[in-house]
């Protein structure tokens, strides 16, 4: 892979780059000036579409294509900036907002110009207190300097940007849950279609984009679509569904490594390279057993699958759901994957919004079954039962409204498929303990 120069994090170690004057001294807001003076909104959509930028929030949908779905006869357009970042293992939005807030604002201004949005709401999770204050200060400065507000840079483009704080619920990251929450209601995701581009916030056409996606936009406008495509992994010409994985990516590395952190690399680094080169290897001189490749919903990579490139289309080939948020969590050889799965199931049971029965009940059942396995009360038939519950819930089987259920089910199916021996051992050592177990477990299924 050719040498890679950081793009999104390049200004991060410049002192006080959160201040507008320092940011401008580093070439900041030039992309905004160029866009507003030289490009029409449709030009910008075209450039972003040509760059093949795919959304960084988890689904990997092509950004320019999404913007193109906005109806041409719309009167009002809203931009919803997704800064709810709650997928366990993920923290790159936080780094961008705390470290280089004006870059984020620039992305929002250019994207809003392209989509003709007049108001942008940044939905930021409540727990990001520092990011909230940093971003608010930067927004105030941008208003004063004329990059936000009325007649931006003397053009007839107006944009207001508001921060909107969440209240500690994972489901508010799902784009229509976010919109409902923004509107002041419980964050119950909506049935789609209609998609937000047609009917979103306040029933108006709405664009929802992740912070990192938007941070890429100023660089694409400044350096061009070809530059963006010179980074990353080209699409496979034999596979028309492969849209390529272009551009820089912020990988979040955590768990059992020596140097956890957020690392910017060209899309397509392998899990092993990331762990060894950036992470300084597995901690305590141990070996790795497995890793989550892109946030907890994506499933697990076995150690012998670590040479898989972390891009949008390779992880499916090894049974993972996808790249997700590119959050890699490493587990050393001493980790119990039953414990990992328990942690995952507990998270989703806690975060299911409760709207769809298969998700509300299914996440609870999976949690209780994994819990009894973990506590030594598992039964031989539990593994198949778990898989059966997991297979019945999600958008993919068509039983739920949003993808939380798929994300809850995937790690279950995936862990049992890849580490069946470990789960069988846990169950067998339990059944060796004797017959009074099954009475205890029957009741434990109905409690908790």
């Amino acid at each position: 892979m050719p040498d890679f120069e950081p793009v999104l994090l390049k200004r991060l170690n410049i002192p006080d780059v959160q201040r507008l004057d320092v940011y401008k001294g580093q070439g900041g807001y030039q992309a905004t000036e160029k866009t507003l003076r030289q490009h029409s909104p449709d030009d910008v959509i075209g450039i972003v579409r040509d760059s093949k930028l795919r959304g960084r929030g988890g689904a990997g949908f092509p950004c320019g294509v999404k913007w193109g779905f906005l109806p041409s006869d719309r009167d009002v357009t809203y931009m919803c900036v997704n800064a709810d970042e709650s997928e366990p293992g993920t923290f790159n939005n936080r780094i961008l907002m705390e470290g280089d807030p004006h870059q984020v604002i620039e992305g929002i201004v250019i994207a809003s110009y392209a989509t003709q949005a007049s108001v942008a709401y940044i939905y930021i999770r409540y727990e990001f207190v520092k990011a909230f204050h940093t971003l608010q200060r930067a927004i105030d400065e941008a208003y004063q300097a004329g990059y936000l507000g009325q007649n931006i840079l003397g053009t007839n483009f107006d944009l207001d940007v508001y921060l909107h704080r969440g209240a500690a619920a994972y489901i508010c990251g799902e784009e229509t849950g976010l919109i409902e929450s923004l509107e002041g209601k419980r964050a119950w995701p909506r049935i789609k279609p209609p998609f937000p581009a047609v009917e979103g916030a306040f029933r108006k056409p709405t664009v929802v984009n992740n912070i990192e996606t938007l941070a890429c936009v100023p660089h694409i406008v400044e350096r061009g679509a070809d530059w963006f495509q010179s980074i990353g992994v080209p699409s496979d010409p034999m596979n028309p569904r492969d849209l390529g994985s272009y551009g820089p990516k912020l990988y979040c590395l955590s768990g059992h490594v020596n140097r956890p952190g957020c690392y910017e690399l060209a899309l397509g680094v392998t899990c092993r390279e990331l762990i060894e080169n950036q992470g300084g290897g597995v901690w305590k001189g141990r070996k790795a057993k497995a890793a989550i490749p892109g946030g907890i919903s994506m499933g697990l990579l076995r150690e012998d699958e670590f040479d898989t490139p972390l891009d949008f289309d390779s992880l499916q080939k090894v049974g993972c759901l996808g790249l997700g948020t590119a959050a890699v969590v490493v587990f050393d050889e001493q980790t119990s994957l039953v414990d990992v799965l328990y942690n995952s199931c507990r998270f989703f049971a806690h975060e299911s919004c409760g709207q769809c029965t298969p998700c509300r009940e299914g996440t609870g059942w999976m949690l209780r079954i994994v819990k009894r396995i973990q506590q030594g009360h598992g039964r031989v038939e539990d593994l198949d039962l778990l898989v059966q519950v997991a297979e019945s819930m999600g958008i993919m089987p068509g039983t739920t409204i949003c993808g939380l259920a798929d994300g809850a089910a995937w790690p279950v199916k995936n862990a049992i498929a890849k580490f069946r021996n470990e789960f069988e051992d846990a169950v067998n050592s339990a059944s060796a303990k004797g017959a009074n177990v099954s009475a205890a477990t029957t009741s434990s299924l109905h409690t908790n």
Partner: protein
Amino acid sequence: MDDQTRWSANGRRIPADVPHQPLLTDDMRKEIESYFPRYPTKQAVVLPALHIVQDRLHCVPSEAIVEIAEMLSLAPAEVHDTLSFYGFFRSPEKPLGKYRCWVCRSVSCAFRGGEKILEYLCRSLDVQPGETTADGQFSVEFAECLGGCDFAPCMLVNDQLRENLTEETVDELVKSLRKK
């Protein structure tokens, strides 16, 4: 029903001769109103309003729900519906302590000792997750991923992320906060 009719939090009609003592102060009302121009509907101000109240009072009393509803032209039940969806807001029976300690129990923290930190903090303050110490100083809760996994295990104490926690740093923190 005319506009003057007042309703208590439990849905009773308040007789006209009972003097009206609003729970929301003028400052709180002004701050809530300052959010109106941001959104095309008043309902969108529900979350900001709830935050404003809980920030000041460490809980959201039912009178506040009624008054917020009035300000936003909603039924109290609508405000309550939103509030109850988020496990975040506290009732007056279980107000937050001076310090809200949110200990992360999600995957990156849990496998670097986060679960033990939660247990340790609970033990040293003699509370269960969700409870507040008798002196009203510390509320301990578990959190799901705080987005600070590069500093695992971590917890959020009010506005500050406390990073790479050990039993020793937890002890020091509790001691220094107690002194304040």
